[in-house]
Amino acid sequence: MEIKSMHFKANASATLANVVLQGNLKNAKGKFVTKRAEAIKDLDDFEGTRDAATAIRNKVIDNLDLWLECFERKALDTGAKVFWAKDGAEVCRLVTEIARSHGVTKVTKSKSMLSEEAGLNQALEAAGIQPVETDLGEYILQVDNNEPPSHIIAPAVHKSLDDVADLFHKVHGTPRKTEIPALTREAREVLRGHFLSAEMGLSGGNFLVAETGSVALVTNEGNGRMVTTMPHVHVVITGIEKVIPTLEDLSTLMRILPRSATGQSISNYFSILTGVKKPEEHDGPEHLYFILVDSGRADVVGTDFHAMLRCIRCGACMNHCPVYQTIGGHAYGWVYPGPMGSVLTPLYAGMENSIDLPHAATLCNQCGIVCPVSIPLPDLLRKLREKQTERGLRPLTERIGLRVWAWVAQRPKLYALGASLGVRYLKWLAGDTDRIRLLPTAPEWSLGRDFPAPQGKTFRELYAARQTRKGATT
């Protein structure tokens, strides 16, 4: 997917100015946060489960090559084929080749963020193969001129009921419907034909189980089952970090994933798919392919950002992020929004292409608290800021400003002088009022709020005066 993260600030402004979108975001916020909080309560020991989930993910990413080889061996034993893709271009090439080798003209897809990373739909279309998104959210976006997703588990969360009603009326040419069940039915009727006619199904994978060579899929709409069992070819695309050791580990992770994501104790559908259809079986694909994708992941192993590979893509960090809640996902400009996206985008799509993202957070650590695999997201964002500074990627004025400030702050007398001059300047700006309407030294502050006026003198001045008075009276 084309990266637009360098326009973060302009994108964020546009989002804030969009009244309809602001309404949609406010509605979505409460649902995710409240539902998760409720769902977490039914776990006897959330922290214990979280520690166990963290340990499982650490075990894998600390020996990723080993677990991938285990998975590959087992998957081959079940009759699947395993391919490795270095980047998105290789994903597109491999999927196109697989499709062509089976004479495929239409591919049904369940949700895969990796296919978004790779820009797979565009590549398939260019090769004359029709991709059909079957996750309702993804379908809505696809028929809306291939709009990118704004959330990793609820891709069309930025749209309202009215938006979808207008869209379906326009693209399906049907009378405008206003009830959710009627709109859902309409999408199902359209998709049914595609499910029946597609020769190949393509899915992501929430986890790859090394012990059995299986892929685990967590979905809510049932489309995942149609995509993975009806066509005679099934292609799974996942990142290499999605492997886990055992089914036992899967059960631990499944206690925490749906609860963190949608606040469900278990998703409506949960599939563990293993191997190709056996002669005595009635359904399932005759051909199963795994495409295991690097796209920057291997380079993260062993770095300061290693912990990020634990991510199980629940979306809790963005659901709880004050910045995401305010501007939504599109402003982040690539596949992954919110705190996890602000770490992943610089790592996978280039630090120089996403200068703002590590700074687009208040470091409130709400994300770190809710992360089901204990990723210290604020620490990682801060570390990225440090890397940017080291590489000279921050604006020169900011770098010089910080250096000068830190230099002065190490010299108490100079600092005291600067502070008392600064305070007098601010007091002068405020005049005889208690606030500054336009702050010339930091105009961004006063875009949307006033700057309260300082008291007038610094603490150190007043304290020194008090000590002198005390000395005089004793």
């Binding site: 600030k9 964020a12 402004s13 804030l16 004050p322 910045v323 305010t326 501007i327 703002d356 700074h359 687009a360 957070a361 208040t362 470091l363 409130c364 650590n365 709400q366 770190g368 608290i369 801060r382 990225l384 800021r385 440090e386 890397k387 940017q388 500074t389 921050r394 900011e398 910080l402 250096r403 400030w405 830190a406 702050a409 190490q410 108490p412 600092y415 502070a419 600064g422 305070v423 606030r435 930091a442 105009p443 961004e444 502050w445 006063s446 875009l447 949307g448 709020r449 006033d450 700057f451 309260p452 300082p454 008291q455 003198k457 610094t458 603490f459 150190r460 007043l462 304290y463 020194a464």
Partner: protein, 244 residues
């Protein structure tokens, strides 16, 4: 019992913007029987440098602060944010300098946010001031999630006869300040602050109280821009000291 010798770290924002918060902290500690010293060479703990990716600047300021304050039995800070930086981040700044790491760790273990110190260490049973009216408490992020400051200020407010606490929705949510975030992404920051202010208004409280001046300046600035001239914005130290 010998008097507890406390170094007061005023914080750069209080020094610049609201000296009265520093004096209120002084009053609270002295009333509780502490001997309070305010080193006059103190400047900033270095958190803005650390959060902006300037590790060398952050390390230099941490060393300066450690040297100034390590002689005290306790260090008290009227801010969850600066307190968190000293307590949690300082030891992590010196991965490659074991001597400094030990000094940082020692200082960290003796550094407390003001209300935490009054409740956890001094176990005060009264506070010097009183305050008439309804207040709502904003839990600042670093204090709450970094240091576990939640009940401490509330238990102190409960010791004041005239104060009635009206909790707001989302009291634990970020106000949008975020240090330099507020001047890098002013519009987003102010939009987050607006949600906080809406919650303050919905609580019906006459004043919003918090333990971090950064958040308070942000909330006050937004309330005034929204046309609210009445809701008072107060630091917990001012309220407890009876200076508000």
């Amino acid at each position: 019992m010998p008097r507890v010798r406390v170094g007061l770290f005023v914080t750069c924002l209080v020094d610049l913007m609201r000296p009265r918060i520093g004096f209120a902290a002084l009053k609270l500690l002295e009333t509780a029987g502490c001997e309070v010293i305010v080193p006059d060479t103190q400047t900033c703990c270095g958190q803005p440098a650390w959060n902006s990716g300037d590790a060398p600047g952050a390390v230099a300021l941490a060393k300066k602060t450690i040297a100034e304050f390590e002689g005290f039995e306790y260090v008290v800070v009227p801010s969850g944010s600066c307190g968190e930086h000293v307590r949690i981040e300082y030891p992590r700044l010196f991965a490659d300098e074991p001597d400094w790491r030990d000094r940082a760790t020692a200082l960290a273990s003796r550094t407390y946010e003001l209300t935490d110190f009054l409740v956890t260490v001094l176990k005060v049973d009264s506070v010097p001031g009183d305050h008439e009216g309804t207040v709502t408490y904003h839990d600042s992020c670093s204090g709450l999630r970094g240091l576990g400051i939640k009940e401490q200020p509330r238990s102190l407010l409960a010791k004041m006869k005239g104060v009635s606490l009206k909790e707001m929705n989302g009291c634990e949510e970020c106000c949008g300040f975020g240090g330099t975030f507020s001047i890098k992404f002013g519009e987003v920051s102010a939009a987050i602050a607006e949600r906080k202010c809406d919650n303050v208004h919905a609580s019906g409280a006459q004043a919003v109280v918090g333990g971090d001046l950064g958040c308070l300046l942000n909330i006050e600035g937004k309330l005034r821009r929204m046309g609210d001239e009445n809701t008072r914005v107060l630091h917990i130290a001012e309220v407890l000291a009876g200076d508000a």
